[in-house]
Amino acid sequence: MALEQLKSDNDVIAAIATPPGTSGIGKVRLSGAEALEIADKIFVSPKEINLTEVVSHTINYGFIQNLKGKKIDEVLALVMRAPKSFTRENTVEFDCHGGMLPLKGVLQAALAAGARMAEPGEFTRRAFLNGRIDLIQAEGIIDLINSKSSKSREIALQQLQGRLSEHINKIRQQLLDISTAVEASIDFPEDEIPDFTFSELEHKLMSIKEELEELIASSKTGRFYQEGIDTVIVGKPNVGKSSLLNYFLDEERAIVTQVPGTTRDVISELITISGLPLRIIDTAGIRKTDDQVEKIGVKKSQDSLKTADLVLFMLDVSQGITEEDKEIYNLVKDKPLIILINKTDLSVDLAAEDIKRQFSEDQLVFISVKEERGLKQLKEKIYSLIMDGKTAADYEYLITRMRHLKALQNSQESLERAISAWQAGISTDLFAIDLREALIALGEITGETVTEDIIDKIFAEFCIGK
């Protein structure tokens, strides 16, 4: 492990350094001893400038082209020579146009030219190892990247444009109204604070809870757009998995990139089907084996299966359903599943009939990768299975961040506790705690604090005073 790390710390690493999502500009960063050399391989300057020769901390105009000579984006290249950079290594930052396409294209070109995809937090780790920052700072930065805190305010502002933030704020206001009335009645028991009736409050809380649930439901779709649908292709050898993958890769050439899985070490390919990103996870095989090396691969594949959003199970129509197929099917049958019947070009109607009897018909798609038949139906099937037949445009708002989802879930859980506390007739001081926790959780998304808001509202809405 140590040796591995040592080796990898000598690599030039590259990553998209700006948060995902649509924005005006984006940044791809390269760092490592050979960063300038690798950058030069893909950077073309109209003035024929070489980044290896320019003065440190200069900005240079040019284009990125891939190794085949195709222009990908117009960029500004910022060169920072060691040790005057964040990592204390030679660093190049390409300011690109925003949007995932150009950014991924530039990253892809850098990777093809010899850089390695950076692991999460690796730039910070290097900064720490090279004495640029201390451990606490390094941890702090990583915490900041990962944590709630009021960094959330900044991210929230960037991310929750328009409708989503409006919507969450609306829910939050309703909750704040209730909390305000409850708190006012606690702190000013001798003033005339109108009381909620039992059913009135219960009704209000329920309707807020429903709105939260709706939002949470939308988050699945949102996450698919943001991070891709984790898709595993399974099937016995030679049923056509690779050709299917190659077909997708071919079609989407410009935006194919190798990215490491976020939660595991399985290498995946990111492809886009009509705007919907699929993260296709390469499975080494999922069956039992005695081979030690293969075992590791099998373990990883099975792990991928566990977290997969979608499983494409491929059958070779010409072979009918074999024992091996059944074994695989049993492993994946409870997942969101599409069964691909490949090689229909070989037209074996009998086997097809048999397959139709064995599986539910709406899971089936008959294709021929070779003749590019049935692939449109496959895309439609993916949409209808995963997205309930909706596209992004059909949603009023989408939750795209895990952090937001977590906050919404926390809020909803607190609210549920509040409702059952209220129904059980638990005292107001306890009920108020659940309400407040629900509010705090929502505030983590919108970046607002609770106490002052409640107190301001108490004074604004109730006539209080001795």
């Binding site: 920052i133 201390d134 606490i136 700072q137 702090g140 930065i141 915490d143 900041l144 944590s147 805190s149 009021s150 960094k151 708190e183 009645s185 606690i186 702190d187 000013f188 028991p189 001798e190 003033d191 005339e192 005292s427 107001t428 001081d429 306890l430 108020a432 705690i433 106490t451 409640i454 107190i455 108490i458 004074f459 006539c463 209080i464 005073g465 001795k466």
Partner: protein, 635 residues
């Protein structure tokens, strides 16, 4: 000393001088003297020691919590009100133990007399009448005070508890005049002295309603509000047994509101006459009518001012309207048709010290050894003032003994919440305590104030043996009963099931501890006696404590978890006078805020508006670097 003018130096040298003998001043003085410091208390008027210029009452949610905390720490307020109250009630009884709040009517005159007497009889304490006009400061350190009579009193520490007296201005309609509350002598020179020392002063406003002669009120038309038996503030007092006085409710009506609207041009609040910022929780009647035009009536309480007077305080009717209008609107209220005003309502403006000028021990940053407490720090309320006075007295005394200061955490006391907010936030109005300000409200109950704070009071030397023994007995009783509940089981026999049925409680299928039974909302501690003959015979107070701790355990544990989560940050103390301006990587706003406020812990720094989590990371790095370099030196 040459730049100071005084005729004579008083021969006795004091450890601590307290300027003011209101609610903050009295607590500060008593704490200092009881902790063994030679203490001088100077007041403008000895007949107004612990005077109540506004409500003749103490308590309410949040405020009564503070009174109980003062008591738990060894302060005087609770004992004083218990001895002089004419009515007491428990508020919020239907809303759960965390927000129960006592509220008592004081006999205003007796309250003052009793407190004055306590100060007079206190060893190490000199109580004198004189007006402090100047602070004597040398090389940034306070040396004493000079009074109007030209005397220089030398003291190592000075605690300012000037209430609303600094450059006080009373406003009644078109009439304004320089005066402290209730026609008292205002402290104009002291305000100037503070300015000369570089203090930034804010202008706040508060107000009080008219006092009515009870003989002119038709009580038969009013709703009566009686006191309750079995209640007292102090952990050491027994409940009030005397016959209690009543309060009375009356209401305004559209006619009242009409008159107020018609006279808007004569309302100082809207004509620009009043520039001070008033509290939103205590609006004047003219403000209420303007801000809530849809309200058809407003509610007012008539509170008796004492046993030996017929004066009534008309709570909710605070006003600075001209006296002729005050009389007109007053007489539109139910039962007040022939009411006679004895003292008019008025607004009062005063100087206070803007936040950021004192730290969590309440010592000012500009002048070492100078402390501020109470309304001068931008708060409102007798209880809030007393809580600060107590802590200022304790901390001034602790420093003289070279001991660590007492800083109460937000998870430990309302007084901790109060001081933390005064230190970190710019007050926009006089600050009043409310339970909703406390994020650990369930932990900061009034029933457990002694468990939270009496050991701390003992440690600083303020809790004397009587209170300490009482507390230890209670704690022991509690521990033993708790163990008993945990160690004794009930098996689901036929008798047990029948008994449970009697209590309307669900059946039992497997053996359970008594503690588990007590968790059921319908089962009280006393009920457990039916299941266990040896159940310890606890006092009502201890039984109640056990019930709360057991029944609310789930919620209490959740709050304790929260406290634990932030404990590291709260315990990381920051050195005094850190040079934030030259600390790399801090954002400019954070630099300014941190330099100004000088928080005592990283936790406190994180609560300052304008300090971001990234700035906190920078602070943590700084602390770590310092720690490492110190370790390096030690090696």
């Amino acid at each position: 000393m040459s730049r100071y003018n005084y005729k004579d130096e008083y021969p006795k040298k004091y450890d601590i001088i307290v300027v003011g003998a209101g609610h903050a001043g009295c607590e500060a003085s008593l704490a200092a003297a009881r902790m063994g410091c030679q203490t001088l208390t100077l007041t403008v008027n000895l007949d107004h020691v612990a005077f109540m210029p506004c409500n003749p009452s103490l308590g309410g949610p949040g405020k009564s919590h503070i009174v109980r905390e003062i008591d738990a720490l060894g302060g005087e307020m609770a004992l004083n009100i218990d001895a002089t109250m004419t009515q007491i009630r428990m508020l919020n009884t239907s809303k759960g133990p965390a927000v129960h709040g006592l509220r008592a009517q004081a006999d205003k005159e007796r309250y003052h007399e009793k407190m004055k007497q306590t100060l007079e009889e206190q060893a190490n304490l000199d109580l004198k009448q004189d007006v402090v006009e100047e602070l004597v400061v040398e090389e940034g350190r306070v040396k004493g005070v000079i009074t109007k009579t030209g005397l220089f009193f030398r003291g190592q520490k000075v605690i300012l508890t000037t209430g609303t007296f600094l450059k006080a201005q009373v406003i009644i309609g078109e009439a304004t005049y320089n005066s402290g509350p209730n026609q008292q002598y205002p402290a104009n020179e002291l305000s100037k002295s503070l300015k000369r020392l570089g203090f930034e002063l804010l202008r706040f406003k508060t107000g009080t309603p008219p006092r009515i002669n009870g003989n002119s009120i038709d009580f038969s038309a009013l709703k009566e509000q009686q006191g309750e038996s079995g209640l007292s503030f102090s952990f050491l007092s027994s409940p009030l047994e005397e016959e209690q006085d009543s309060c009375w409710l009356t209401y305004s009506n559209p006619k009242t509101h009409q008159i107020i609207k018609e006279n808007e041009d004569r309302t100082p609040l809207f004509s620009g006459e009043i520039e001070g910022v008033g509290p939103r929780y205590c609006p004047s009647i003219e403000d209420k009518v303007k801000r809530f035009p849809e309200k058809e009536r407003h509610q007012f309480f008539l509170e008796p001012e004492g046993k030996n007077t017929r004066e009534y305080y008309l709570s909710g009717f605070s006003t600075s309207l001209p006296l002729d209008i005050q009389i007109k609107i007053l007489r539109t209220l139910t039962g007040m048709e022939e009411a006679e005003i004895m003292r008019p309502g008025y607004a009062i403006e005063y100087d206070c010290v803007a936040s950021g000028q004192f730290d969590s021990t309440l010592e000012t940053k500009q002048v070492a050894g100078l402390y501020t407490a109470g309304q001068i720090n931008g708060t409102s309320g007798y209880e809030e003032a007393a809580g600060q006075g107590l802590l200022a007295g304790i901390n001034a005394a602790l420093t003289l003994k070279d001991k660590e200061p007492l800083i109460l955490k937000r998870s430990e006391a309302y007084i901790g919440v109060l001081i933390d907010e005064l230190v970190t936030k710019e007050p926009k109005e006089p600050y009043r305590m409310m339970t909703s300000r406390a994020e650990y409200r369930l932990l900061l109950r009034q029933d457990n104030a002694d468990l939270r704070l009496t050991p701390k009071g003992r440690e600083v030397g303020l809790v004397k043996d009587k209170r300490w023994n009482h507390f230890q007995n209670k704690r022991q009783e509690l521990e033993e009963a708790k163990k008993f509940l945990q160690n004794n089981r009930v098996t689901p026999t036929k008798e047990v099931r029948q008994q449970l049925q009697q209590y309307d409680s669900g059946s039992l299928n497997q053996p359970a501890t008594l503690e588990e039974l007590l968790r059921r909302p319908e089962i009280s501690y006393q009920d457990l006696a039916a299941f266990s003959a040896e159940l310890p015979d606890c006092s009502g107070e201890v039984a109640r404590q056990l019930e709360i701790a057991t029944k609310y355990k789930g919620y209490i544990d959740r709050q304790l978890q929260q406290v634990k989560k932030f404990k590291n940050m709260e315990n990381k103390t920051l050195p005094k006078y850190l040079d934030y301006q030259n600390m790399d990587n801090l954002r400019q706003e954070a630099r300014e805020k941190l330099s100004k406020i000088q928080p005592h812990s990283v936790g406190q720094a994180s609560r300052i508006p304008g300090v971001s989590p990234a700035d906190i990371q920078v602070l943590l790095i700084y602390l770590e670097k310092k720690r490492r370099s110190k370790e390096g030196q030690d090696d």
